[in-house]
């Protein structure tokens, strides 16, 4: 049992609880371009990590998604312009996306950009107030780190892209909440 890879679809899975997708763990599917980042995956880790590092991570994540989102927008635009008798792969890809995906994708890009700008401002403020230190050289390093990762995002399919983005946006939300709790002195975080 130990040496064997898990059987492939041995039994029917109740899909009503879980979204229909490839549940194979071993496949490289859904390996997001940000999977290599070491991020706290528990609440206590997020609480224990230094604030600077948490901030850095947030910025890095946001930066890592900037480029892939713009590429994704172009990708959707391109596929929406294709006629119906285009390649079957393109058809298959565009089938996964709803009709208003282009506007939504643009919305998402804008929101991410605004969020990143806001976090940068907060970071500056924190650094100026001495809440966090400048040890990690601020936002420049996070930007660089994020950019280096983002190049790998081009290989993902649309569904993986969305899944990865959802996961990372969930992360960013949780980290920001924890960070906020930790900055405000009155809360017991």
């Amino acid at each position: 049992m130990t040496g064997r890879s898990p059987p492939c679809r041995a039994h029917p899975r109740p899909e009503k609880h879980f979204p229909p997708r490839d549940n194979e763990l071993g496949k490289s599917a859904r390996k997001c371009h940000t999977s290599g980042m070491l991020t706290p995956n528990r609440k206590e880790y997020a609480q224990k990590i230094p604030r600077e590092e948490l901030t850095h991570l947030i910025l890095k994540l946001l930066q890592a998604w900037k480029e892939p989102l713009s590429h994704f927008n172009q990708h959707i635009e391109h596929h929406q312009e294709l006629p119906d008798d285009s390649l079957s792969k393109a058809k298959q890809i565009s089938k996964e996306l709803p009709d208003d995906s282009l506007s939504k994708a643009k919305q998402i890009s804008n929101m991410v950009h605004e969020l990143k700008t806001g976090v940068e401002k907060v970071t500056e403020k924190m650094q100026s107030m001495g809440i966090i230190s400048n040890s990690l050289n601020g936002m420049a390093s996070s930007e660089a780190a994020g950019l280096s990762i983002s190049n790998e995002a081009n290989m993902m399919s649309d569904s993986d892209f969305i899944h990865c983005f959802r996961r990372d946006s969930n992360k960013v939300q949780s980290y920001l909440k924890i960070l906020k709790c930790r900055i405000m002195p009155e809360n017991s975080c």
């Binding site: 049992m1 898990p6 059987p7 899975r13 609880h17 763990l25 609440k43 997020a46 949780s174 909440k177």
Partner: protein, 611 residues
């Protein structure tokens, strides 16, 4: 045989059912769900199936593997979450990392499931529901309450690790369907307009903000106003929409409306029910027109009828002739026609002044049965400036005039003009002042050529009708016998000599006519000046008296040489309490002292004249 077949199939079906109930069919254990209540731990649950009864009894195991692991690991805790469950505490839980769990019995895999913990979050139900009364309505029937609760204790909402949304549902106690409110982030919700006499049930459930599935419902909160000690005016029955009253009032309104319609449209209804027998109608004539006194249309309509036309006009030339233009070079023709006209149609055609500017000579307002004997003398309507003729004619003038008739009202469509309700003076033929028929139009300054012709050539004659008796070679039209001299004389008089009283912008018609006559030969702009002079042909008594005095002499003089022999005159305006305004010199002056004063005769004067 059929019955037996049926019985057999029934037996077989029952056997199948019993067989299926007897666990011959294997049902495998299945993972029913995996759930994380707070994004910090999670647990998986499975069902047994009928496995144990059939095969060798074994133990079912749940194995899990994270993505980065190499191997499957066994469930760390089978107990905490209950039977057939596996509980993963915080140390075993990693968020945002894919997991796979599988249900095995030794080497046999029953079920497998892969997920990520942040996707299986189903929060616990909220706790500590309570409500407070906000306010009650003035009637005491409805009230607003505020419901508040606490988030589930397991979810760490305070630190923000998880964000929850809440959905509240409520209903009356004896209802079956719950009313839902929109999910919201706050832990308090107002409920408006609840009936105080009823009891309610409230429940709340929560879900993670980014997911779609709700957790379990909380305990039901019972809202009872009576228990809270709220006074309630107990209505025996609820105030519902008073359908009964609506029906009653609707029926009454409808009945009233129907009655009103019937009353208002009574005539039409009668016509609908009893259609009237068609009566002969003159085509094209609308009795309403007559009533309204639209002389234009009536005249045209009447004229368009051949019957009427032949009755009135023996000669179409008369009609044509009237519509002459001053620039018309066919004077000779006209002269000859004039004779013809004067001889023949004098009596019939223009016996009355319709006082219209259309100059067609139609719209004879008199009855056609004018005795011809009266007009014997009027045959002399030639180009003769004969005073004797005039005298004769003037005696007969009244015959021509509508007012000489007994009752002109009905025979005068022109009289139907009810712009001014004038008291008509019915004059005796003997010594009456022939009142000209009423003029409906005060506007003597119609720019029509004919009108100006008439104005030009009869100084004080009527504006609207004039029998063109002759046309002088100079181009002026003599409108009635004896106008020549008058015209000639009028030219001697200048417009400016007259003392026009301009105070009220009223002009004496005589003055105006003289003015026009003077400038008539100025062919450059006769019309324009005529218009200017004739700007307002309203006459007031004052103006007339003032101007009349100045003209009195002249008018007194003029009658003898120049008295036009009008066949008819027209009334320009009638001031009902004051009298009529006539065209000047239209009236023969039996007495010198009878000062015409430009055609205005007061009632006193009239009474003097008339017997």
């Amino acid at each position: 045989m059929d019955l037996r077949h049926l019985l057999l199939t029934l037996v077989l079906v029952c056997a199948n059912d019993s067989l299926s109930a007897s666990d011959d069919v294997l049902r495998l254990p299945q993972i029913s769900k995996c759930r994380s209540p707070e994004l910090e731990t999670f647990s998986c649950y499975w069902t047994d199936g009928n496995f144990y009864n059939l095969s060798a009894p074994g133990t079912i195991q749940l194995l899990y593997m994270k993505r980065n692991d190499e191997d499957w690991k066994e469930c760390p805790d089978y107990i905490t979450a209950g039977e057939n469950s596996c509980y993963f505490n915080t140390s075993y839980t990693s968020i945002w990392i894919p997991y796979c769990v599988k249900l095995v019995n030794k080497d046999e895999v029953f079920d497998e499931k892969c997920f990520s913990v942040d996707e299986i979050v189903l929060p616990d139900p909220p706790v500590h529901l309570n409500w407070t009364l906000l306010n009650t309505s003035q009637t005491g029937i409805h009230g607003d309450i505020q419901v508040r609760w606490d988030p589930p204790p397991t979810a760490d909402v305070q630190k923000g690790w998880i964000t929850l949304e809440y959905e509240l549902q409520y209903k009356e106690v004896n209802e079956t369907k719950w009313k839902e409110l929109e999910p919201r982030l706050s832990t308090m919700v107002p409920l408006y307009s609840l009936k105080i006499g009823r009891d309610y049930e409230i429940r709340v459930r929560s879900r993670q903000r980014t997911s779609e599935k709700f957790g379990e419902f909380s305990e039901i909160l019972y809202v009872s106003f009576s228990q809270a000690g709220i006074e309630f005016v107990h209505c025996a029955e609820e105030i519902e929409f008073p359908w009964f009253l609506v029906v009653i009032f609707g029926a009454c309104g409808l009945a009233v409306t129907v009655i009103l319609i019937l009353l208002s449209k009574q005539s039409r209804l009668k016509m609908l029910i009893f259609p009237p027998v068609p009566v002969p109608k003159i085509k094209g004539i609308d009795p309403d027109l007559l009533k309204k006194g639209k002389l234009d249309e009536v005249n045209s309509i009447l004229a368009s009828h051949d019957n009427y036309k032949t009755q009135l006009y023996n000669d179409d030339l008369w009609v044509e002739f009237i519509e002459l233009d001053i620039e018309d070079p066919d004077e000779k023709n006209r002269v000859s026609d004039t004779d013809r006209l004067l001889s023949e149609d004098h009596l019939k055609s223009h016996s009355c002044l319709g006082a219209k500017d259309d100059d067609s000579g139609r719209a004879s307002c008199c009855e056609p049965d004018i005795p011809e004997t009266d007009f014997s003398a009027s045959d002399t309507c030639d180009a003769i400036s004969d005073i004797d003729q005039f005298k004769k004619v003037t005696e007969k003038e009244e015959d021509l005039l509508c007012l000489g008739r007994k009752d002109n009202d009905e025979s005068l469509p022109s009289l139907a003009n009810t712009d001014t309700q004038q008291p008509r003076m019915s004059t005796r033929p003997e010594n009456s002042q022939p009142w000209p028929p009423f003029a409906d139009s005060i506007d003597a300054a119609s720019p029509s050529a004919h009108n100006q012709l008439s104005n030009q050539n009869s100084l004080t004659n009527t504006d609207f009708y004039a029998q063109v008796s002759d046309i002088t070679p100079a181009g002026s039209v003599v409108l009635s016998p004896g106008q020549k001299s008058k015209v000639a004389r009028a030219r001697c008089e200048g417009c400016t000599e007259q003392n026009f009283t301009l105070d009220n912008a009223y002009f004496c018609e005589a003055d105006v006519k003289k003015c026009i006559a003077v400038i008539s030969h100025e062919e450059d702009e006769p019309r324009v000046q005529a218009q200017i002079c004739n700007e307002d042909t309203y006459f007031t008594t004052e103006s007339l008296t003032t101007t009349g005095i100045s003209l009195g002499a002249s008018t007194a003089e003029t009658p003898s040489p120049e008295v036009p022999v009008p066949d008819y005159t027209s009334i320009h305006i009638v001031h009902s309490p004051q009298g009529l305004v006539l065209n000047a010199t239209a009236l023969p002056v039996p007495d010198k002292e009878f000062n015409m004063s430009c055609g205005y005769v007061s009632t006193d004067q009239l009474n003097k004249i008339m017997p």
